[in-house]
């Protein structure tokens, strides 16, 4: 796994030092070696972490056999051996590769087949191929958005990198805060692509590529989740089980390929246990597994992980997180993301990556299982809220719930407070995560730079684009509310939050994380599994059935906790200093983003026992921490 960076500009706006700076900024992503290439309008920089082909032949930027093209590449393409052996030269003889790396296969396949070759790749990737003759470059990102790409484009100058902080470091870009992104962050906890916290900086959306050269800038979508949807769903349980377990096995087998030691993150939940079980079956021998737990027994799942590990006979490593460990990690947490980012599970992910890196360079993780097989509560909420009678009486239900004294009912009451049916998806997501609702944001957001119309439009942005993407379907069937909510998550939450968290945390410690559930074949197949098999009262039913054939069911009989940290308790005690510091009236006024009085009331309510507000407070702390760290 690696870091990529570079620029394109015809007026010598960028200097060689800028490229060196970008490469230096991303050194933690690839500490083994680095390289740069400059030619005419472009500069390409690369940091390498050696995973496959450890020799120098695999180093980058890599030139093609014909010497016309150059590639820089971050990621893994798992089917590169098949692609390589299928590649023929002009004379029809098999292509002779100079190295055994996937980089070379990608480059030569692109030359042979053009940009559409990307549809044959199976893996996670972000790469740039530069054509020296046309002075044109193409920048690709994988289908699901596992590997990151950020770019700056103001109509004149183009720069790209793997982490947004790198762009910030280039002083001449003079990045300004994109105030439009802040309400979106407060609503969702992350900033949805293509927006970023800076003006003129964007995330390249998953499944897209950008071509830039003398003829200008062009962005294209090459893969769409919804295009994979079929008219007929697989409704038969044995067929679905066979299909999925074969695909999971194939995906895990692909992803176990590595020339360096590897391990698996095992939380003791369904997703990671199934990955571990499949890996043990396929690889044989002892596999390293890693898990973390908390001192606080209410959040500690480490013992469950241990039991699964013992059953499967893995070489298990465990790490117990104390509050002090978490506080010590806050600095890393802030510096890793470069944007306001409120997923507190980034902290344990950083810690487990640090632990794992002592033993391995590659780790498999279970991300994506919940979205593909309907593990989250928000999918149930989608079904409920789209029920005609519930929707019609939602305000009444909300009032009744609010009048009760239970903390749980109070937060659930917010779920029913939906005014705008066009914004149902983001509302459900936001309220399931206890973030600020659209209504709250119009009271909270202090800046006058946005008219209320535009604010509303921004808060609906993910819903609108999701709705638009439904047009990409080739075959139409009536989607269930839960399916729509899950697809919405796969389009936004997964690439812009979960995978960002995993990539930054692991790369911070120079560890490569692979995500077998997000093999695109598995994602596409899961789209066409009947929702009845995904959740028939039992969440992730089909996945569990596959797992229970390999690990006894008794190991998993407990309420789902997820990978959460005891944040609400920490924020009351050990981490209260964050509230005092970042959410002090003086600091809030200085930042000038949100209404001071509103925040004061929020903190009071939290102090008086409304526990569920901790996420809203965490959002605000992160936002203000980001402001201060970045000197705004």
């Amino acid at each position: 796994m690696c870091g990529i960076s570079g620029y394109y500009s015809t007026d010598q706006f960028f200097h060689p030092e800028d490229l060196d700076l970008m490469v230096r900024m991303q050194e933690h992503r690839g500490p083994d070696s680095s390289g740069t290439y400059r030619d005419g309008p472009i500069g390409l920089g690369h940091n390498r972490l050696r995973i496959l082909d450890l020799s120098e032949k695999g180093s980058q930027p890599m030139h093609s056999a014909c010497n016309r093209y150059v590639i820089i590449y971050n990621g893994e393409v798992y089917n590169y051996e098949e692609l390589g052996s299928a590649l023929k030269t002009n004379t029809g003889t098999p292509f002779h590769f100079r190295s055994s790396s996937d980089t070379e296969v990608i480059l030569e396949s692109y030359i042979a087949q053009g940009p559409d070759f990307v549809k044959n790749l199976n893996g996670m990737f972000a790469f740039v191929i530069y054509d020296k003759e046309l002075q044109e470059m193409v920048l690709f990102r994988d289908r699901i958005g596992i590997k990151p790409v950020y770019y700056f484009w103001d109509g004149f100058h183009f720069a790209f990198c793997s982490e947004i902080q790198t762009l910030k470091k280039i002083g001449k870009l003079n990045l300004k805060i994109n105030y439009s992104a802040i309400p979106q962050y407060l609503h969702l906890g992350y900033i949805p692509a293509p927006f970023t916290i800076y003006e003129n900086c964007y995330k390249l959306e998953p499944g897209h590529y950008i071509r830039i050269g003398a003829s200008g800038f062009e962005k294209k979508k090459y893969w769409s989740l919804l295009a994979a949807e079929k008219k007929e769903v697989v409704d038969d349980e044995p067929t679905a089980m066979k299909l999925l377990s074969d695909l999971i096995a194939s995906s895990v087998q692909y992803q176990l390929k590595s020339d360096v030691p590897y391990g698996i993150f095992l939380s003791g939940g369904i997703d990671s246990s199934l990955v571990t079980a499949s890996a043990v079956k396929l690889a044989g021998g002892q596999i390293n597994t890693f898990s973390i737990g908390f001192e606080d027994q209410r959040y500690n799942e480490a013992s469950y992980a241990k039991r699964v590990a013992e059953h499967l006979g893995t070489n298990h490593h465990e790490f117990i997180v104390t509050t002090n460990d978490a506080i010590d990690t806050l600095g890393d947490y802030m510096s890793s993301y470069g944007e306001p980012f409120a997923d507190s599970s980034g902290i344990p992910t950083l810690l487990i990556s640090k632990l794992a890196r002592k033993y391995v360079t590659v780790a498999l993780s279970g991300e994506g299982g919940d979205e593909l097989f309907h593990g989250y509560g928000s999918y149930k909420w989608a079904t409920r809220l789209e029920n005609y009678f519930i929707y019609k009486n939602r305000f009444l239900i909300s009032k009744i719930l609010k009048s009760t004294s239970s903390d749980r009912n109070k937060r659930v009451a917010d779920m029913f407070l939906i005014d705008n049916k066009d914004a149902l998806r983001s509302h459900i997501f936001s309220q399931e995560q206890y973030f600020f609702s659209a209504e709250e944001i119009s009271g909270l957001f202090a800046l006058n730079v946005l008219s209320s119309d535009l604010l509303e439009h921004l808060l609906e942005f993910t819903d609108t684009t999701f709705q638009n993407s439904l047009e990409e379907r080739v075959e139409h069937r009536k989607l269930q509310p839960s399916e729509k909510q899950a697809m919405y998550d796969i389009q936004y939450y997964l690439p812009d939050n979960l995978l960002v968290k995993v990539d930054r945390a692991s790369m911070h410690h120079s560890l490569e994380i692979r995500v077998p559930y997000l093999d695109h074949r598995l994602v596409e197949a899961s789209m066409n599994i009947s929702p009845r098999l995904k959740n028939n009262g039992v969440a992730k039913y089909i996945l569990k059935e596959i797992l229970y054939k390999q690990v006894p069911q008794t190991y998993f009989e407990r309420p789902k906790k997820g990978f959460s940290i005891p944040l609400k308790h920490w924020l009351r005690k050990e981490m209260y200093f964050l509230i005092d510091d970042y959410l002090s009236p003086a600091n809030i006024k200085q930042a000038g983003l949100v209404d001071c009085e509103y925040v004061r009331q929020l903190i009071n309510r939290f102090n008086e026992g409304e526990d569920y507000l901790f996420q809203r407070i965490w959002l605000l702390i992160n936002l203000h921490m980001w402001m201060r760290t970045n000197g705004y």
Partner: protein, 292 residues
């Protein structure tokens, strides 16, 4: 690197005073690959002179003259003559902020789903003073937004940058039988292929829309109401308009036409159209009347 060319099409009829100010705003843009096509719709004033004055310094401003044929024909002729990748149908009395064109081009490049875009609109007075009225351009669901006559939305064509090949390949243009409703009909008619996005920023890229004193009520005329009727007739015959939309639009337009007749004190047609409106949606009709 060549930035894509933007064609700004400005139909102009006896508005040389405003036209000069609009051209000023265009030559001051942060964007640099522009062609302007002023389509003089048979003006009797010094429009030609004003344009000629600008042409001396800015040869990319073009002037075309046609004998008076109406704004729709002028815009369609402009589209035929344009060579840019993107077009803007700009009205001669509107103004644009500094980054108006740049931000639109960037938006269309970055959001590949969309082939047209618009921004927030703010109103300006006769004397270019900003007025506290905000609108947003119709976007994403233009048909619904237009049919519902949503408040704070604007269909002023000046606001929109559109990929010209999408218009040319669909032979789209402004309907020559309509006048004041031509823009609304244009957006409805092209809604199956025109995907309009709203720009997520309002700094320096707004359209400054000229609000003439007196507003609509002063310009109310039998001609305008006839135009509404024609507009209604055309919309309900479009194949992609659903039955529900058709019924609702009949109710809404009859209500608007009836109101127009009332204000002009033509009570007989006013009652006639009020009755029609009530017939198509009695419940909403009562609500509307009570609200008025």
């Amino acid at each position: 690197m060549v930035r894509p060319k933007v064609s700004v099409i400005i139909p102009s009829y006896n508005s040389s005073g405003y036209l000069g100010r609009a051209l000023h705003a265009i030559v001051d843009q942060s964007y640099d690959n522009i062609e302007v096509l002023v389509i003089d719709d048979g003006s009797a004033d010094n429009t030609a002179e004003v344009v000629a004055h600008f042409q001396q310094q800015y040869p990319w401003i073009n002037y075309y003259h046609q004998s008076n044929a109406g704004v729709s024909i002028a815009r369609n002729n402009g589209l035929k003559l344009s060579t840019g990748k993107y077009v803007v149908f700009f009205d001669s009395d509107d103004l644009m902020e500094f980054d108006f064109l740049t931000k639109r081009v960037l938006f269309l490049e970055n959001f590949s789903y969309y082939n047209a875009c618009c921004s927030v609109v703010t109103a300006v007075s006769e004397k270019d003073v900003l007025l506290p009225y905000y609108y947003k351009g119709i976007h994403d669901h233009p048909v619904e937004q237009i049919l519902k006559h949503l408040k704070n939305t604007s269909t002023c064509p000046s606001n929109y940058m559109i990929k010209s090949d999408i218009l040319k390949s669909h032979h789209a243009g402004f309907d020559t039988e309509l006048s004041s409703s031509a823009d609304k009909y244009f957006f409805i008619q092209s809604s199956p292929f025109l995907k309009i996005g709203l720009i997520d920023s309002q700094s320096n890229c707004k359209l400054l829309y000229r609000l003439h004193p007196g507003g609509m009520s002063q310009r109310l005329s039998i001609g305008l109401l006839e135009d509404h009727k024609e507009f209604l007739k055309k919309v309900i015959h479009l194949p992609f308009i659903t039955l529900r939309q058709r019924l609702f639009f009949r109710f809404k337009m009859y209500y608007v036409i009836s109101g127009g007749y009332f204000k002009m004190r033509h009570y007989f047609p006013a009652f006639y159209y009020a009755l029609l409106s009530a017939l198509f949606n009695p419940y909403k009709f009562i609500l509307q009347v009570c609200a008025a």
